[in-house]
């Protein structure tokens, strides 16, 4: 170790201790950050862990390599290899027991001084310490020392050496006679003991990898290669060894040592460290010089010596534990995939865990499953109430809940559907009210038409086409200048009337019937819903200041003295139409500070010039229906279509459902709904809404068909099969073309004709089983024979009666509770009469008999038939999740 390049060693036995060695040895303990033990002077390693410096040892200069004694006792015994080839035993920290004291300070000195490159303790026979040295003429380069050896008897030789060495040593601690001398006339750069046999030592020599056997030191197995640095054995696979040269890592299989089984892609810079992960099979970490990333090779395949043709799978990954350049790293011996990294300079340390690649998947019911390593985790959306207010539920969850609350199915009080949707969504509220008004107006018109013998042509389609098309065809508009109600002061406000405008107001919900100025019903309903501001605004726009003030007062009372409403009422009462009055001036400046948009537009209306109502018309927080109604009252024939067109475009672009009022259920409406679906994914609302439209144009639109199909698919995926069936029934009523054809016919064995009296009997979907509804047949007559040829129908496999015979309860089962169940459930009893059969073996019988048979059996009741009828269809075993 030159002073600049640090290295890390984990303690073999203390999972929380490691040593950093650069110019000195530093022992650290790692612990959770902020724990009681943590004191000043701890170094943060990660968000959760910190290290404390326990001891420093700077007794051994010129360190080149360090190795930690592998056995428990003595702990903290380290061997240090020095630049002059000496190996010194040293220790860190306190508590030296006697064995340790004896060893610490011991020196092992080679014959000729040269750099010690590597050290390796034998993992089993821990007295043996192998040292790899540079080449010195014909001398040996691998020396194996026995640390327990008594001090050398030849002190004279040692004394000789002492003179050569720079440090004055106590000769009594010097050992000069190695146990084994290997690798003559060579250099050794890396060493490791083989785990499969502790007598074998693998050495990276000058130009080859050599395996020495201590039982026969004259022989060695070797292979010529350049990749001789950093030899290391895979702890999980004892025949696998990695070594490197420059930027290339070679993986060897000791069973076929001739050539590397694999060389990893070359890296641009020379490697400095290669290490197998001790906690995970086949994970190799590599580090190159001047780099801040650690490259990991995940070898997924266990190598086999014969399987030449399959190369192992390698997943390459790079991780960046810290920002600075990495000096060295060390895997934690037991913590999963964890390592400590030390920076090249300043000894900055980082605790880092390499995460496994997580694979994940969403289920159709919004639960998330992921796999991390070998473990599975499931994560479900928790329905805890407290948090819901903070985060809006996902539309998938909303649609599921709405489907269960029968959203969209209220066809009489259509507006109630927004309550079924939860009643919180303003756009849905507006949409369903729009649809309600459209439907009720068209219904009324139809009734009127019937009476007036259809004087008007196709009012219905006009109604469906929305206000945008209604106001396009204005004719016979009249103007009126009216007084403020309750005063004879003339206003200069022009109000416009026409049949179309009146219709539009009805669609907006402002008027229901009667004259187009009678909004009293509407005001009362608003008061009931405590929409005081809105009611006041509507009253004001109908030029009834007194009523507006009255509403506000009522509101202030109901809201327990809402000062705001009272103040507004007071301000209203001071209205003057004088152009330059102080009232006007103050109102137009202060109105912008009013929080409620309706209060705001009231003053905008009062202070604006006649015919220029931008303050009302473009106040976007006011409901579209109110703005449109206002426009229909106060904009002239030129302004009105322009305003409506502009608003329609705005709504379409935003996908705002309030705009359905303008577009109606036309192609325009589909466009608007398209951008709503694009934005929200709410195909449920889109499907139900468009089903209300006229079947001719709208339902034929491929987009609408696509939404409906997608919604049905969602219901199927959620196993809301009953809801899907109900939806189909609902759809069939409104769009008869969507009704599916009958799927199954039963033909007579003898004459080949269908045994049904009518082809329109209830069809039934199903993969494995089909039924023929005997009791449901239209003529209600008993059928035990073919209607065509009068031959008897097949017999039930269990009761042996001909089909069509009323079912009797099985006596054999003797389950009394079952009988009770059947008699109570009248519907079920009818189902018991159905004839069912297995498509596979074509045996069958009464549904009730079959069900009770398969409750106890898996095979078909017909003799010698081994068909497992009941298990053929897995989907059939799934229970719908919406059955009540």
């Amino acid at each position: 170790m030159s002073g600049s390049k640090p290295d890390i060693l984990w303690s073999p036995h203390h999972p929380d201790r490691y040593v950093i060695c650069d110019s000195e040895l530093g022992l650290y303990r790692i612990g959770p950050v902020g724990s009681a033990e943590a004191k000043a002077g701890t170094l943060p390693l990660s968000e959760e862990t910190a290290a404390t410096l326990l001891a420093i040892n700077s007794d051994t200069p010129y360190m080149k390599c360090v190795a930690w004694y592998p056995k428990h006792e003595p702990e903290c015994l380290l061997a240090v290899g020095q630049a002059n080839g000496r190996v010194v035993l040293t220790s860190l920290g306190q508590s030296h027991n006697s064995a340790c004291k004896e060893l610490v300070g011991k020196e092992f000195v080679p014959k000729h001084a040269r750099q010690c490159n590597t050290l390796a303790w034998n993992p089993v026979d821990s007295n043996l310490l192998a040292a790899g040295l540079d080449k010195h003429r014909a001398d040996f380069s691998v020396l194996i020392w026995d640390i327990s050896s008594k001090l050398s008897p030849e002190t004279s030789v040692a004394a000789e050496k002492i003179r050569l060495s720079s440090v004055d040593l106590d000769s009594s601690t010097v050992v000069t006679k190695p146990l084994y001398e290997l690798g003559q006339n060579d250099a050794c750069l890396s060493l490791c003991w083989l785990l499969r046999d502790p007598k074998l030592l693998l050495a990276g020599m000058h130009r080859n990898l050599a395996i020495f056997d201590l039982r026969n030191t004259s022989q060695k197995t070797f292979v010529n290669t350049k990749a001789i640095q950093g030899v290391t054995v895979d702890p999980h696979f004892h025949d696998r060894v990695a070594s490197f040269f420059e930027g290339q890592v070679a993986i060897w299989d000791l069973r076929k040592f001739e050539k590397p089984v694999l060389t990893l892609t070359e890296q641009p810079k020379p490697l400095t460290k290669v290490a197998w992960c001790p906690t995970r099979t086949g994970l190799l970490a590599t580090l190159t010089r001047d780099s801040n990333i650690i490259r990991l090779y995940d070898m997924q395949h266990t190598p086999t010596p014969i399987g030449d043709e399959t190369e192992p799978t390698i997943i390459e990954r790079s991780v960046q534990p810290c920002e600075s350049q990495i000096g060295s790293f060390a895997w934690h011996p037991s913590s999963q995939n964890r390592m400590v990294v030390v920076s090249a300079t300043n000894r900055v340390m980082t605790d880092f865990t390499v995460f496994e690649r997580i694979s994940l998947a969403w289920s159709s019911t919004t639960s998330l499953m992921w796999a991390c390593g070998r473990h599975l985790y499931e994560c479900v959306e928790d329905s805890a109430e407290g948090v819901e207010s903070m985060i809006e539920k996902d539309i998938a969850t909303k649609m599921r809940e709405r489907a269960q609350s029968r959203y969209g199915h209220d066809t009489v009080q259509v507006w109630r559907n927004h309550l079924l949707a939860g009643g919180k969504d303003a756009q849905l509220k507006s949409l369903w009210h729009d649809l309600f008004y459209i439907l009720s107006v068209s219904h009324m018109k139809q009734c009127a038409e019937d009476m007036e013998l259809k004087l008007q042509g196709n009012v219905q389609s006009v109604v469906y086409s929305g206000i945008k098309n209604i106001v396009k065809t204005t004719s016979g508009t009249t103007e009126s200048r009216r007084c403020w109600i309750g005063s004879d002061r003339q206003t200069d406000v022009l109000r416009y009337h026409s049949e179309e405008r009146c219709l539009a107001l009805r669609l907006c919900g402002w008027i229901s019937r009667g004259t187009d100025t009678d909004v009293e019903n509407f005001l009362r309903s608003l008061e009931q819903e405590h929409e005081w501001e809105r009611a006041a605004a509507v009253a004001l726009f109908n030029l009834d200041i007194r009523r507006a003030i009255q509403i506000l007062n009522k509101g202030a009372m109901a809201e327990k003295g809402d000062l705001n409403l009272n103040v507004v009422a007071m301000a209203l009462s001071g209205y003057t139409d004088e152009k330059s009055s102080l009232w006007r001036e103050m109102c137009s400046s202060l109105r912008l500070q009013l929080k409620n948009p309706y209060l705001c537009i009231m003053f905008a209306f009062l202070t604006s010039e006649p015919g220029a109502y931008d303050g009302v018309l473009y106040e976007s927080s006011v409901a579209v229906r109110d703005r449109v109604a206002f426009a229909c009252m106060f904009l002239n024939d030129a302004q009105l279509p322009r305003y409506i067109d502009r608003l329609t475009l705005e709504m379409k672009e935003a996908g705002n459902l309030e705009g359905i009022l303008l577009t109606g259920l036309t192609k325009d409406g589909v466009d608007l709904m398209e951008s709503y679906v694009d934005r929200t994914g709410d195909v449920q609302t889109a499907s139900f809404c468009m089903l209300k439209g006229s079947p001719g144009e709208v339902l034929k639109d491929p987009r609408v068909q696509c939404w409906i199909e997608n919604y049905r698919n969602l219901l199927d995926a959620w196993r809301f099969w009953h809801k899907r069936a109900e939806f189909d029934i609902h759809r069939g009523k409104l769009d008869p073309s969507s009704k599916p054809l009958a799927q199954v016919f039963v033909s007579c064995n003898f004459c080949g004709k269908s045994i049904s009296y009518s082809c329109s009997t209830i069809p039934h979907q199903g993969r494995g089983f089909s039924q023929y509804g005997v009791s449901g047949s239209p003529t209600k007559s008993k059928v035990t024979s073919c209607p065509g040829c009068r031959k008897p129908l097949p017999r039930c496999a269990l009761c042996l009666m001909n089909m069509g015979t009323p079912v009797s309860n099985c006596q054999g089962t003797g389950k009394s509770d079952e009988k009770v169940d059947l008699t109570r459930e009248n519907k079920l009893a009818q189902f018991n009469n159905w004839f069912t059969w297995c498509h596979n073996c074509r045996h069958g019988g009464h549904a009730g008999h079959m069900l009770s048979w398969f409750r106890d059996h898996t095979e078909c009741p017909v003799s010698a038939c081994t068909c497992k009828c009941m298990q053929l269809d897995t989907t059939g075993n799934l229970v719908p999740s919406d059955s009540s």
């Binding site: 950050v33 902020g34 968000e47 997924q300 395949h301 399959t310 799978t313 990954r317 991780v319 496994e356 690649r357 997580i358 694979s359 994940l360 998947a361 969403w362 289920s363 159709s364 019911t365 919004t366 639960s367 992921w370 796999a371 991390c372 390593g373 070998r374 473990h375 599975l376 985790y377 499931e378 994560c379 959306e381 928790d382 948090v387 985060i391 996902d394 539309i395 998938a396 649609m399 679906v677 694009d678 929200t680 994914g681 195909v683 491929p702 696509c706 939404w707 997608n710 969602l714 995926a717 959620w718 196993r719 898996t858 497992k868 298990q871 053929l872 897995t874 989907t875 799934l878 229970v879």
Partner: protein, 367 residues
Amino acid sequence: MFVARSIAADHKDLIHDVSYDFHGRRMATCSSDQSVKVWDKSENGEWHCTASWKTHSGSVWRVTWAHPEFGQVLASCSFDRTAAVWEEIVGESNDKQRGLSHWIKRTTLVDSRTSVTDVKFAPKHMGLMLTTCSADGVVRIYEAPDVMNLSQWSLQHEISCKLSCSCISWNPSSSRAHPPMFAVGSDDSNVTYGGKVQIYEYNENTRKYGKAETLMTVTDAVHDIAFAPNLGRSFHVLAIATKDVRIFKLVPMRKESTSTGPTKFEVQIVAQFDNHNSQVWRVSWNITSTLLASSGDDGCVRLWKANYMDNWKCTGILKGDGSPLTGSSGQPSAMSTVLGSSVQSSQNALNGMSAGSCLLTSVLDSH
């Protein structure tokens, strides 16, 4: 709010893929231990492994379910250069009692010369079709002409993508307005090879798949790709796991009726997040494509959601081991709200997004 719990998986090596069936009641996992496991959810919500068998002679990369209308069918692909189709058959009665099911191999698809990296069934309206992609850069589309006989598969299309393929995703849209389309991602890490995501579209006239688009801005290795469920939207959304999470929108341009070439798309990048620090491994959409989950090198699962302005935000972080994520406050708790600070620094400023508050919750079930 999401709560995590652990399930004893009992795989002997890394799990590479998890896949739900159409109804979310069954699940399949595959692993480096060369096996596939099938799990069934009981009525009380517990998962039980009902089948586990050795499927390949190498790591199994991916497993996927066919639509249930084709029966209970799985496909798997492996490093052993093959893909396989499995069907569940009615087991012995005692198997059923023990809660086990039996799966048999219907076919092995051996056309690839290299590791098969992904396998996906085409949307069901196209029939029973299976697509594989492999490390040699070939996408293969197989068809079972007779859905009752799953041992017959014919190789219909072989498309060379030139780059080593890592993942494939079908556009799930069933709208007639959208011809069949899939996207394929490459894990080639050489940025000079250009776009790593290619989109292919079926041409009715030539009866071949042609390249419709290459996402030139994605130059780093792509690990996963996922088309969002279309749900009748007028555009397609594609999530990409590369060195960050990216969400692309593909808006089909109005096509003149005379033109016969592939659909032209207006490609918009909607979001880009580098919160995972370095590589992102997987992306997955929920059923309405309103929630995206991603996993990455930071060992976390992140959830993303768009607001009504189409601005995507992180709405949840869960640690890979299901344990609570401890923020800098260092107070691990079952439920805690971490304000943006820890995530905000790396939040991409694209579209002026702000990290906002990330609600994160995760509870480790002492399972």
